[in-house]
Point group: C2
Chain length 201, copies 2
Amino acid sequence: MSRAADRSAQGETLSRAVWSVLAGQGLERLTVRAVAAAAGCTTGLVMHRFPNRQALLLHARQLLHQVTRGRVEALEAAAGSPRAALRAVLHQGMALDEQTRQEAIVWMGFLAAAVTDDELIAEHRRSNRAWRDRIERLTAASAPEWTAERVATVALALIAMTEGVAAYAAADPAAFPAADQERMLDATLAAHGLLEADPPW
Amino acid sequence: MSRAADRSAQGETLSRAVWSVLAGQGLERLTVRAVAAAAGCTTGLVMHRFPNRQALLLHARQLLHQVTRGRVEALEAAAGSPRAALRAVLHQGMALDEQTRQEAIVWMGFLAAAVTDDELIAEHRRSNRAWRDRIERLTAASAPEWTAERVATVALALIAMTEGVAAYAAADPAAFPAADQERMLDATLAAHGLLEADPPW
DNA sequence: CTCCGTTCGTAACAAGCGTTACGGTAACAT
DNA sequence: ATGTTACCGTAACGCTTGTTACGAACGGAG
């Protein structure tokens, strides 16, 4: 393997270690040593790969955006209709299993860390804007007769709802089971007239 | 002032200092010294009032729940109808001004801190359950003909949406202005048939 | 006035933090 | 084969953290 690929792969390994620590031990224990331990290396490697802790977190945050973007693009491409794509993409944004639940915890951890980190909050806003644009585009395609304002309003309702339920379910999975989240999503899509199937009542 | 009242008032002062630090400097800088500085005292007083940092955070979290509960109960009592109460209570849960924006940041900070703190996450779940129960009760009163499942589903959609938009707006107030949040709330209430007034389109 | 308990500021402690410097080792070029 | 360079583990630095110990100041009781 080439040197450049090694560097890149190590960056990804370290970023995934950041996610792991953030999901399992929280922001307060997100130390360089903990990340190194999770990655199976020493702090020396971490500090050779990144100039400082801030840059490490920023890279991990950027990679998180990139990974989720790849996933939703695949879902969107595989969907048979705009409405199916909208539902599939929103669906993966909730905390339905251990995988997505941990992602929600990591997402919130980065958000909490961004309070003191200007670069992190800038990245957060970029990521959110891309996400919002995507849902607005899918919403517009799902309801071509709507005005731009109505599209934007409903798209905001959808991203806020899935983000919020992910936060609730991440902190209390037993109280917010996957079935409840899915019912919530379908009921809301149906209420806005965006569900392919008939409403569940 | 009596001794007991002094103790209680100091506990509240310190808890508000916790909120202040959490909102302004984030979880990573939420240290005992920073809280003491925000409260205008020394670490000695803090550690005499609370056995340790964990207990300090827990008390601040409990007081946050208590304060917001008082506010929503006042709103609910002042509302002229179940639907007006539902809207007013959900309305105050979004991040519409600097006050509520900071509350949203604090709420997320506690949530991020709860990842490693069992008592904090237990308090978080209690608080969320009470909030969910309240919205379910108001939803049921607003739509008496609905089944319990539909009430629970729509109530979940409403609390998730307001919580989610608060998180978005807290991190990027310019991108999620108050008017957008209010339009979103009214559009969703209208879509579920829960708005007193006519839908905005 | 004196005593005593409470209150809380001061100062210190060990532990853990991010970061830096150094040294050995492995891989490449010549 | 040898010199050179990049890589990274080790160990240490200064600093901050939560927590503890100590002593001064205050107020009510006798």
